[in-house]
Symmetry: C2
Subunit: 478 residues, 2 copies
């Protein structure tokens, strides 16, 4: 469920956003001017950024001088680069709203472990001869998630991944190995890694339509299932979509499969819970993600709601599927069941540390706070006459895309077409939201001052009832 970095360039001379970011036309660091605009040629924006931008702003690696150790010049240069960089990170961390990362963590106690090359290569449950590992932490974390998703210790298999994408790649691969000629079904608003998997694995893939909320349209799902009913089904269910934070209705997906004549041995469900997989269990009225239902795997990111210095994730599947995977592979190591080989041994310790400190109760409190703050943001946007939508189970507030790219970059918003979003994470406080709102309202009054430019209509994205454009605004106020 990462936000996509993507711009495609069309013939009309304007970079059009295909996925969910405006990245490519944008420079890094304390908000320099937009590069493509500088060149007056957005058509080539992508090429320009690709070819030159980062190459010219990058920090070159230089060969040490013979007397460096004596003069200390290089050491001093590197220290100054790092100090500047740290200051920039602090600044960028402070103004951040658009990505679902909890930036509020303190792993000071774990600094002592940075001296070790910790590597959980291979299977979490089978020790390798490499002794510098952290499997005892990893399995502790996996057990915690197995309890959360209600599967017994001896019935699950899983591992700590490098990111949400690896979880999706793994879940869909397991599905394909269990049902080799299965067709992959995923809603259009699924994370791009799902479609990447289909391509990598050479699977047939059906894109299913979405409701305005971003949820999968089960009527379209049913039609597509019936058109392919000779082949088994592998389904990606979104527990929180990237853009709108929409949660596919797992029960309705299962019901649709049953109604379409798919028995449990003819479908495999992977739940992409990159962000909400960890929040949903703590939302009272949310439908449950549990292995008591006929699902095959669940993945979640560790650097999102939990917070972690580097990306990571958790993948849990049923042991029986992994056995199938292992048995099938004469030339693979019997337990080479992960996507990667060497695996970051620090990530499990970060997760273990936070889970121990916060516990289920701590997460519950944080989830409640995030949902409350998200409602606050949506309400204040509506009060200010700005189009905005918040899905019931979500802390992702979708709203009218700010006109000014500098404002977008300053707050690190993620945008798609005419909409932007803020993902309210534990590090996003009411104070930060107030700062953001006040600035937005103030800037907005200048963008739309003379009435020549109107705020966009985003009813197609958020529904008429949430749209405050000239045409629809009455419905909000009424």
């Amino acid at each position: 469920m990462e936000v996509v970095d993507a711009v495609s360039v069309h013939g009309n001379g304007k970079a059009e956003i295909e996925d969910f970011d405006i990245s490519a036309v944008v420079q890094p660091e304390p908000l320099p001017p937009i590069l493509a605009a500088e060149n007056g040629d957005k058509q080539n924006g992508r090429e320009i950024v690709l070819g030159k931008n980062v190459h010219t702003t990058c920090l070159e690696v230089t060969e040490p001088e013979a007397n460096d150790e004596f003069t200390g010049d290089k050491e001093a240069y590197m220290a100054s680069v790092l100090a500047r960089y740290r200051k920039n990170l602090m600044e960028r961390t402070k103004y951040h709203l658009g990505y679902p990362y909890n930036l509020d963590f303190d792993y000071g106690a774990l600094g002592q472990l940075q001296h070790f090359s910790i590597n959980n290569l291979g299977d979490p449950f089978i020790e390798s001869n490499y002794g510098v590992h952290s499997r005892q932490f990893e399995v502790g974390v996996l057990d915690w998630f197995a309890r959360l998703w209600e599967i017994e210790k001896n019935e699950y298999w899983g591992y700590i991944t490098n990111c949400g994408t690896e979880g999706n790649l793994h879940g869909i691969l397991v599905g394909r190995e269990v049902l080799p000629d299965g067709v992959l079904y995923a809603s259009r608003e699924s994370h791009y890694s799902v479609f990447k998997a289909a391509r990598m694995y050479r699977m047939d893939c059906e894109k299913v339509d979405c409701l305005i909320s971003g949820e999968i349209d089960t009527a379209d799902f049913k039609a597509k299932l019936l058109a392919n009913k000779d082949k088994p089904a592998i389904i990606n269910v979104n527990i929180g979509t990237t853009v709108k934070g929409a949660v596919d209705d797992l029960d309705l997906v299962i019901q649709t499969l049953e109604e379409s004549g798919f028995s449990q041995d003819r479908f495999y469900i992977h739940c992409d819970g990159a962000l909400f997989g960890l929040m949903m269990p703590f939302v009272k009225r949310a439908p449950k993600v549990t292995f008591k239902k006929p699902i095959g795997s669940v993945s979640v990111s560790g650097h999102k709601f939990v917070g972690c210095p580097m990306p990571c994730g958790v993948q849990i599947t049923r042991m029986e599927h992994i056995d199938v995977l292992s048995r099938n592979v004469e030339y693979l190591a019997s337990r080479d069941a992960t996507i990667m080989g060497s695996r970051n041994g620090h990530a499990p310790i970060f997760l273990w540390y936070t889970l121990n400190r916060k516990g289920y109760k701590g997460f519950q409190k944080e989830v409640q706070k995030c949902l409350r703050n998200a409602h606050y943001l949506k309400d204040r946007l509506h009060d200010a006459g700005i189009s905005a939508m918040l899905n019931e189970l979500s802390s992702t507030v979708v709203f009218e895309r700010p006109l000014d790219e500098e404002f977008v970059r300053r707050w690190q918003l993620a945008c798609q077409g005419n909409i932007a979003h803020v993902v309210v994470m534990p590090s996003v406080t009411i104070e930060k939201l107030d700062d953001f709102l006040n600035e937005l309202v103030e800037k907005r009054s200048t963008w739309y001052r003379d009435g020549g430019v109107q705020p966009p209509c985003i009813a197609a994205d958020v529904g008429c009832e949430n749209c405050a454009c000239a045409l629809h605004k009455l419905s909000i106020l009424s």
Copy 2:
């Protein structure tokens, strides 16, 4: 080029090593007894380890008590767990010889960055709106490797991966996208991730035989090429195999392709340089890995010869191939050209830091030291009448597998069948090798004291000239 964690269990009641590790029958931590042996049933060794072992020794995550913050009990418990763990890591780091990891590094200056959630999601050369990234370091590192492998800045594309496996998965995927019906050729001693890729990507795959040295047998390669000459060829070339550190002869591979009638538009070469990709350029008489030859991609691991707290790697390919990849994919983000989505932003800074400090010259010195020390180890093994082999371009010393599993685990050796190996990294000093050799010679005199058990013949693995078994020992001494 990770060492494989793998045991397959055969009907003969003995766990047989399929790949290159004895992991599955072994417990972690200060060398407890072997689990399978305890149970007296090696046939089920794998199941036992999988099901129970790590689950019972793991560090459970527990829910905080209501008064934890007041009593400080939990904080104290966690501090004690971490202190014990740290001690264990120091011990395990000290006695380590079998894996190609340089454990000697000091990143103290970078400890300050652990407070930030650094994520280079997406393309290294296209900024995303997420401001807490390290692309300026990443591109600096990539440029360094591009210089090393002789490709111009505007002609290459690459990124910093999570490990050697990701590099292979990427290189082979690029090959498949460029030549969709290509057959994958790789020698039997290629890293297991190469065959994993073939399976994941649903590619036809031909396993090519090896010479005793571990190098690809180009006669067999030619025969297999001719048998499939209607289809393009995607070739994995090993710049250092996992087990024997053998370097496939790139020039001979290219020549074989040409002789078999494959023009450059009908083959794609990926060089798996996980370990030696960074050592080879500094070995005088080594054949050169360079983009001036018709290769498509090169990958190398960052946590091996460079040394890094967590696994990482570098992947470099030609820009033109990435353009093909991007153009082909209507539903992918235009520049979603990596395997993963979110990417660890700390790894590039670790690499940048070390490359800056050591430079090409520093690496050259270290490579020379490693090769010298590897020769020392091989010579002393031969002097002690122990079978051993060292490939000319390699610092991997292959030798007779020690009889005692406890000794193997103590020194964290990686084993396969009757052979074991030590990979001489910069952290492996003469003193450490002497300790190891003295202990081996002493233990060995007890293992083979009464003459009932003989040291194994490993001529099939290392050649008669390197085998010191009863049958072959004369040839060494002569």
